[in-house]
């Protein structure tokens, strides 16, 4: 199959990173097309008309959207590094943790950064509980996937870099080595993995996005792109 691969993405986005790291783990060639989320391209809107979001993977002429859907597609279409396990029960288990990350951890982490007062305290308590649960899943292994990166590691990527940057910008210190030694160790292993290193954004790029927009993001509780 010689169809071209294009990935519409944005380096600051962990969702975009998920798709990119999956492609790099499989060793497939692709073209990265940078999207300016303040001025979305006609191509992005054509290929993701319903949600108008990145990442979008274009395989030949066929668009696939939503980061986890893209990662599972890449795993199923390309040989090489297995991202999901083969066993149905282990696959279900990986998908469970992926959902836990996207439905509990990520929203709680986000809101703990962009709220204050009692609301923030409540989100911080939720984050602490969720991080402890997630850390427990590591069970002393190098990665959630075992010896090598798997679906859960990819879905948890924001804990390896983005959360650290965001909490620094807002003045929190939730995810730290004292409280979450195994999770922080995992973060370092993840950042240093070959396929990840090649597509991880510089810390400064993420700081450069959040710092100048701090007040507006705080007001909206959502990313602001312009």
């Amino acid at each position: 199959m010689g169809e071209t691969l294009k990935l519409f993405g944005w380096k600051v986005s962990p969702y975009s990173h998920r798709a990119e790291v999956a492609l790099r783990l499989k060793g497939v060639k692709y073209e990265f097309i940078h999207e300016d989320l303040a001025n979305k391209s006609d191509m992005l809107i054509r290929y993701n008309p319903i949600l108008k979001k990145i990442p979008v993977l274009l395989h030949g002429d066929t668009p696939i959207v939503e980061s986890q859907v893209i990662v599972e597609y890449i795993d199923e279409v390309f040989d090489g590094h297995p991202i999901l396990p083969k066993d149905p029960y282990k696959r279900a288990e990986a998908r469970f943790w992926a959902r836990f990350i996207d439905e509990k951890v990520r929203p709680q982490v986000w809101m703990s950064c962009w709220t204050d007062g009692e609301t923030q305290k409540s989100f911080i308590a939720q984050v602490k509980e969720s991080l402890a649960i997630l850390q427990g899943r590591l069970e002393g292994k190098k990665f959630f996937g075992g010896d090598s990166i798997g679906l859960i590691d990819i879905m948890a990527c924001s804990l390896a870099l983005w959360f650290g940057v965001m909490q620094e910008v807002v003045g929190l210190n939730l995810l730290n080595e004292d409280d979450y030694p195994e999770l922080c160790q995992w973060g370092e292993e993840y950042r240093n993995a070959e396929a990840v290193k090649e597509c991880l954004p510089e810390r400064e790029l993420i700081v450069g996005f959040f710092a100048p927009r701090k007040d507006r993001i705080f007001a909206k509780k959502a990313p602001v792109y312009d």
Binding site: I50, E66, V69, P88, Y89, R91, R95
Partner: protein, 226 residues
Amino acid sequence: MAETVKLLGTKGSPYSHRAEVALRLKEVNFEFLHEDLAHKSDMLLRYNPIHKKIPVLVHEEKSIVESLIVVEYVHEAFNGYAILPSDPYERAMARFWARYIDEKVIPAFWMSCWTDGEMQKGFIGQAKEALTILESQLKGKKFFGGDSIGFVDLAAGMVAFWFGILQEVAGISLLNEEDYPVLCRWADDYCSVEAVKESLLDRKLLVAHFASKKEKIFATKAPVYD
């Protein structure tokens, strides 16, 4: 011989329904264990300690949770009926639309039922847009899965059966034949499928259940079990 497959669920839950229909499509022998969600069983808490929710599939003493994850597991672990398509792109599309139903269609419809004033108008607008987009995916097919029901049809089970009940109790008419003729026709066809019929509760019972809890649900915007 004790059944090796157990499903912890409730007949009133559209999420439990997804898991049950999947098992019936695969003709798996299973034991349905009714949960009283106001008094969760020790078994439920043991098999789903993190979320404490139904459905829970127990297969050879291992538990699988989260309705769509259960459906994918049933598709992969048991032979027979193909719930997901065999083509990776079609599978990615099925996963996308199931996600769209869970993240856009259901929340907007639910909140349309249980809010009022300007807030309700806002949710109704979102629900109408989401239903229009969903309906367009039927594109002349009998089911989202084609000639027979598949992953997206199961994900949309709530639309087919529960939406009519909820809107009747709430006193609104969102999903109606005039505005959504194709979706309403699909709903009738879906509810007529043998595996679906076997898992649905009597409509009158469900209407009575929601009607009796109407004020409490309106106050909390969440399902009420006691």
